[in-house]
Subunit: 199 residues, 2 copies
């Protein structure tokens, strides 16, 4: 039973839903989990370390990595490029570690196309009113930004309907338990298990 | 979050794999679980109660139920008929209870055809050598019967490759935990969850 290969789980969800807390709790509960570090062309902010917060690449390097098909997904936001390098993901999976990707929904679609065995989990708020309360509660954004994040969340929600799983983050405990159950269940798929039994 | 509808989980597996113990532990751990009682035309054995061990039907009643499409699946063994009445399953599911069906693999295929949202779990032995040891260890059958059960188990194993999940019963604790994880995960499917969020 020791030849388990890791699986990749994508965690998507609207801004303010509490994904960061859920991911932190998942990582704390299982030290073998690998959390994918994105690559970006944006400049490091004070305190950010290369390879820890991001892999910081020049635009030239980033484009070379695209040409070399080194990204599981990549996108552009406000003039900067962001991507998920596949080599770290592959290495972790080969070591039998499960991988968490915290990426945008468009990126999730790119990964699923490339790797159909990737499991996509959408973290949803218990209600849109509650998401609005959480966004306002953070106190970091003005009302206009809250409204625009909310509108984007609803748009994404419609696009997430073909995700594999929906986890409602009403309490962090429940959301974490459900994601852990999904990870356990996905390791019980026949393709992985049949190989473990002598035939 | 209170409108949850129950789901049906089929537990299949070869004779001797320990399904009975696993099912008993699942039922003990969750009193809301409904374990489906089969109908049969065979005569009750001493101590067997109608509606508890089986729904005992006459051949005439059984055939009427088939005509009325009252079975999720039915089959014939050694001159007796066995079937899963759908009314008890439906009632439990409407009450929000998950349902366990401990049935043969042919029955599992019938149920899946009729109810594609049914989840099929195959409980496998860690190895065929271990299954043989368990069958011999029960001490209830001669070697010829052990060999024939083993051969049937291997045949079924090949047919179970398109099941949704494989759980390896190396330890009962692990098998029970995995089945519970599968049940939790299957309640996180988008079709069930999206309805819970106001849109």
């Amino acid at each position: 039973m020791c030849v388990k290969r890791g699986k990749t789980f994508i965690i998507c969800g609207p801004s303010g839903v509490g994904k960061g807390t859920v991911v932190a709790r998942l990582l704390a509960s299982d030290p073998t989990l690998y959390f994918s570090v994105s690559a970006t062309t944006r400049a490091p902010r004070p305190g950010e370390e290369n390879g820890v917060h991001y892999h910081f690449l020049s635009m030239e390097q980033f484009e070379r990595w695209i040409e070399e098909d080194q990204f599981l997904e990549h996108a552009q936001f406000v003039g900067n490029r962001y991507g998920t390098p596949q080599m770290y993901v592959d290495k972790a999976m080969e070591q039998g570690r499960d991988v968490l990707l915290d990426i945008e929904i468009q990126g999730a679609d790119q990964v699923k196309m490339k790797r159909p065995d990737t499991v996509r989990i959408y973290v949803a708020p218990p209600s849109w009113a509650e998401l609005e309360r959480r966004l306002i509660g953070r106190g970091t954004e003005d009302m206009e930004k809250v409204k625009s994040r909310l509108a984007r969340g609803k748009e994404e929600f419609a696009a997430a309907k073909d995700f594999d799983y929906f986890v409602i983050n009403d309490t962090v405990d429940r959301a974490v338990d459900e994601i852990r159950a999904i990870m356990t269940a996905e390791h019980c798929r026949p393709d992985e298990r049949i190989a473990l039994i002598d035939q």
